[in-house]
């Protein structure tokens, strides 16, 4: 699993990248009450705001961590936003992306680096 400075995680599953938010991010957000997901087949660019996550007190965005095509989204989060708090780094993945070059994942932090980043 790889991590971004925006507190997202990326995991390679075959030739697609699965993306979610980290346990730290879920804890900071508090109880998630609303999730809006991107459209399947959307072409997104790194840094695009493609998901909305809202807790009782705040709204946040998830950025596309890399360029690519959205190939699947986790509809369960729409019906049960609280999954994001229950299992942020497991069942509560947000979307899967097809990307050209999976070696780009090496550019992101590993688990130890992310822990250091959190301080």
């Amino acid at each position: 699993m790889r991590f971004t400075e925006e507190h997202e995680w990326l995991r390679l599953d075959g030739d697609v990248v699965v993306v979610g938010i980290t346990e730290h991010a879920a804890e900071q957000l508090g109880d998630v009450v609303f999730v809006e997901l991107p459209e399947v087949e959307a072409m997104v660019a790194k840094g695009d705001e493609i998901c909305v996550i809202e807790s009782v007190k705040a709204a946040s965005d998830i950025l596309a961590p890399v360029d690519g095509e959205i190939v699947e989204v986790n509809e369960a989060l729409v019906d049960t936003p609280g999954l994001v708090n229950d299992d942020p780094q497991g069942d509560a993945w947000f979307f899967k992306m097809k990307i050209d070059d999976t070696s780009i994942l090496d550019d992101f932090m590993g688990e130890d680096d992310y822990k250091d980043f959190l301080g």
């Binding site: 925006e6 507190h7 997202e8 938010i21 991010a25 900071q28 957000l29 508090g30 109880d31 009450v33 609303f34 809006e36 705001e49 909305v52 996550i53 809202e54 807790s55 009782v56 007190k57 705040a58 709204a59 946040s60 965005d61 998830i62 950025l63 729409v78």
Partner: protein, 388 residues
């Protein structure tokens, strides 16, 4: 992930202040010890949430009792033989008849009928006691001194202010001070506890029964600890304070009311007694009376309404409202909004033209470039449970 700011508080927090300059309430150390997440708010370092979390704190307050630190708010004493009649020059509220031991909701108005702040006015033995918003207290005290030269205006700076709210608030406070159970909504009284005098009112900002308690600062932590020792009392942060007041349809100064809104537009005409209205014995005589009295007789052109988004997306302050899905120009905007934990759905408040403000009216909100349907609802969203 980006964002994570609390839009509900963005309007009135201490933006730009460094930690060194943030003031602390007498309960600051207790909040930190209880694991609060602290944020700058109105120049103070305040707890936005405790380990229970905003949702849990909100639901706990509705089910049991929640303890809030509101020591950042301004406590002001007015003394003088005719302080009550004098204060009527700044507010459209009748105070001359206010009996000892009662309080009223009021607002300072400006010459165009806008609201400079909202406040509580209590008549205690020998003086008036005011509680004003944290972000406005310096303004309000200057406004009182300038407007009421014959009145002695004293800011109380050596007392904490706590709120205890919820269906078991009375059980909790009565466990310490049995006599408070006799109080009714908007009563005020002094009660002794451990050798100190507490100034208690039966009121709050959640829609629940409860109390607001002014405590000498030296005793504040012990008093809070005595309440928190009861298993049904939990500490509650500013996050849940905001979601609770939103469900109760109560205005947040700086969001739902400000100098651009009048008390009539804000749906607060009940706070303006007959004696201050046209034909009353003390008609007018407050800033903006011509505007406000005209609106009371003819109805305002726009008014604050409750809003129920038809979908699940929360709609926050600043969201623009449209009469029709394809309209180019907005007819109003949301002033407070978010997820309502007790209702399990998003709710909001905002201003709409009178013709669109009837309950059940369908309007449209623009969220992230999309137009989404919203129904006008009734306020409060959840019936209040005051001890009347």
């Amino acid at each position: 992930m980006t964002g994570g700011q609390s839009p509900a508080h963005a309007g009135s927090d201490g933006a730009g202040m460094t930690e060194q300059t943030l003031k602390r309430t007498p309960l600051h150390a207790l909040h930190v010890a209880q694991g609060a997440r602290m944020v700058p708010f109105a120049g103070y370092d305040m707890p936005v949430q405790f380990p229970l979390g905003v949702m849990g704190e909100h639901l706990h307050t509705r089910a049991q009792a929640g303890l809030f630190d509101v020591s950042h708010m301004g406590q002001v004493i007015l003394r003088g033989p005719d302080a009550d009649v004098a204060l009527e020059r700044l507010v459209p509220v009748a105070l001359k008849e206010l009996p000892v031991g009662r309080q009223r909701y009021a607002m300072f108005t400006d010459s165009s009928g806008g609201i400079l702040d909202d406040l509580m006015v209590a008549r205690r033995e020998g003086h008036l006691f005011l509680v004003v918003n944290a972000a406005r207290k310096d303004h309000d005290i200057a406004h009182l001194r300038a407007g009421l030269p014959e009145v002695e205006v004293t800011e109380v700076t050596d007392r904490a202010l706590l709120a205890l709210q919820g269906p078991r608030a009375c059980d909790a406070l009565a466990a310490l001070i049995p006599d408070v159970a006799q109080m009714r909504f908007m009563d005020v009284a002094s009660h002794d506890w451990q050798g100190a005098t507490l100034w208690v009112s039966r009121s709050g900002y959640t829609g629940e029964d409860g109390f607001e308690i002014s405590v000498p600062e030296a005793l504040a932590e012990a008093f809070a600890q005595a309440l928190l020792a009861l298993e049904w009392v939990a500490p509650i942060g500013l996050g849940a304070r905001d979601s609770l007041r939103l469900e109760a349809g109560l205005c947040l100064y700086g969001n739902d009311i400000d100098t651009g809104t009048t008390p009539v537009e804000a749906g607060l005409p009940w706070a303006i007694q007959k004696v201050r209205r046209r034909g009353g014995a003390r008609e007018g005589g407050f800033p903006g009376a011509n505007v406000i009295l005209h609106q009371l007789e003819n109805g305002p052109e726009r008014q604050r309404v409750g809003l129920l988004p038809e979908g699940r997306a929360p709609m926050r302050a600043g969201t623009k409202l449209f009469a029709a899905e394809g309209d180019g120009s907005p007819v109003g905007q949301i002033t407070s909004g978010g997820f309502a934990p007790s209702l399990g759905r998003p709710v909001a408040m905002g201003y709409l033209p009178a013709r669109l403000s009837a309950p059940e009216s369908l309007i449209w909100a623009e969220l992230r470039g999309k137009r989404l349907p919203v129904r006008v609802g009734r306020l409060p969203f959840r019936p209040s449970t005051y001890c009347k």
